[in-house]
């Protein structure tokens, strides 16, 4: 495992804290682009997804958008936007790419969250006299939150992965040691960068998994464990 000891030596060398490509700066850039892009995308996609989920209209459009978006290679889209906007506007081009990339997951998270709610719950809320807004704020939003957080989780990881590739258009970020090191055959730096990127993604995923768990309302959590237990018993008897 000589490669890995070289990579660790590169990572923990004091030089990694110096200059314009110091690791804390690269990490800061990576987080900055990720968070800004996901926030912009959420500001657009979450209200749109809620409207689709609340009214039940426009679902086909949302499905079509998410399907088509998956086929578009984000790396190619980013380079196309860099060429269209000009080399001086690389950050803007990159952020537009990340926003486009994050929208489908967030949209799906927002509207499937509302769509998955039992219709009888909504009917009951209306029956006790709640207005449309109250149904949304006090019933649909809390019940749909876990799936929305799941959508944010997917979007966040997708953007973290794409920011890594964006080092190719000189955006900085933790992909920079990898992209810059490959042509120079500096494998200690390439592997060191890869380790950092993987760690960042795994930590972000873990934090979002915890958030997703915390987003489930307490009353629902009790109900779910009971249901899952029931299902496990059913399958066990079937396979026995």
């Amino acid at each position: 495992m000589n490669l890995f000891t070289d990579a660790l030596a590169w990572l923990f060398s004091p030089e990694r804290l110096d200059g314009p490509y110091a690791l804390p700066i690269l990490l800061g850039q990576h987080l900055y682009y990720t968070i800004v892009s996901v926030l912009i995308a959420a500001a657009i996609a979450v209200p749109a997804g809620w409207i689709i989920g609340h009214t039940g209209r426009g679902r086909e459009i949302a499905v079509a958008i998410s399907g088509a978006a998956r086929a578009i290679p984000s790396f190619g889209l980013m380079i196309l936007l860099v060429l269209l906007l000009g080399v001086l506007r690389v950050p803007e081009a990159a952020i537009i790419t990340f926003v486009i990339l994050a929208i489908p997951s967030l949209l799906a998270g927002a509207y499937t969250g509302l769509e998955a709610i039992d219709r009888r719950t909504i009917d009951a809320a209306r029956a006790v006299g709640m207005t449309g807004w109250q149904v949304f704020w006090r019933v649909e939003l809390p019940l749909g939150l876990p799936l929305l957080v799941g959508g944010i989780r997917a979007a966040l990881l997708q953007v973290i992965a794409t920011v890594t590739i964006a080092a190719y258009v000189n955006l900085g970020g933790l992909g920079w040691p990898i992209i810059q090191g490959i042509p120079l055959q500096r494998f200690d730096q390439v592997l060191g960068g890869a380790i950092l990127v993987a760690l960042l993604a795994l930590i972000a995923d873990l934090l979002m998994a915890l958030a997703q768990h915390a987003a489930v309302p307490t009353g629902i959590r009790v109900q779910q464990t009971r249901r899952v237990g029931g299902r496990a018993r059913a399958t066990a008897s079937a396979t026995a």
Binding site: A71, P73, L80
Partner: protein, 227 residues
Amino acid sequence: MTWVLDNLDLILALSVEHLRQSIIPIVLGLVLSLPLGWVAWRYQLVRGPIIVLTGLLYTIPSLALLILLPASLGYSATSPPNLIIALTIYAVAILVRSVADGLDSVDPAVRQSATAVGFGGARRFWTVDIPLAGPVILAGLRVTAVSTISLATVGILIGVENLGYLFTNGLQRRIIAEVFAGILAVVLIALVIDLLLVLLGRMMMPWTRATAATTTRRVIMPMRSAA
């Protein structure tokens, strides 16, 4: 536009190479996921670890995985097999879950009926379980196919040539048409393969058309196409 017409040969050659580099992981991913998904479904104890482990591999961004895998296993990073192995891992991560979920969706009463009329374990699996789990597996396979084809372009960053070459070359030479042609070719290939999978599904599972509404609902759930 003239660039595209002058370079049709190049685009075609890269598309064929791109198709080769994506179809192998899609097929290999399905072949590996069927037994793995069955194990995860049959033995609830290992289901958690299998789903968590493949989920963690799926979480690692592609560029990092393309470096970490060859470094840990000791093969060359700059060769097509490296890209194919990484894409296969992503495919397995999506498909293991689809196979296990698909087997979950089979009505236990149907399975018991099959056993009652004398179907043995293997025969029941291939002729009852797999066809009934088919729609859910197909939904996962479509997601896998489209995201694999679009993700393969990242290969150019480690020196594996496919349609991604049109992106890096187009940026260096500032030819917008070249980059655009690359995106269009990738999207077209993805749509054609997706259509073929839908048609194949209809041929193999003619009864699903009646219940199409429930399957499209499932397609949108696994969202992320790791970049």
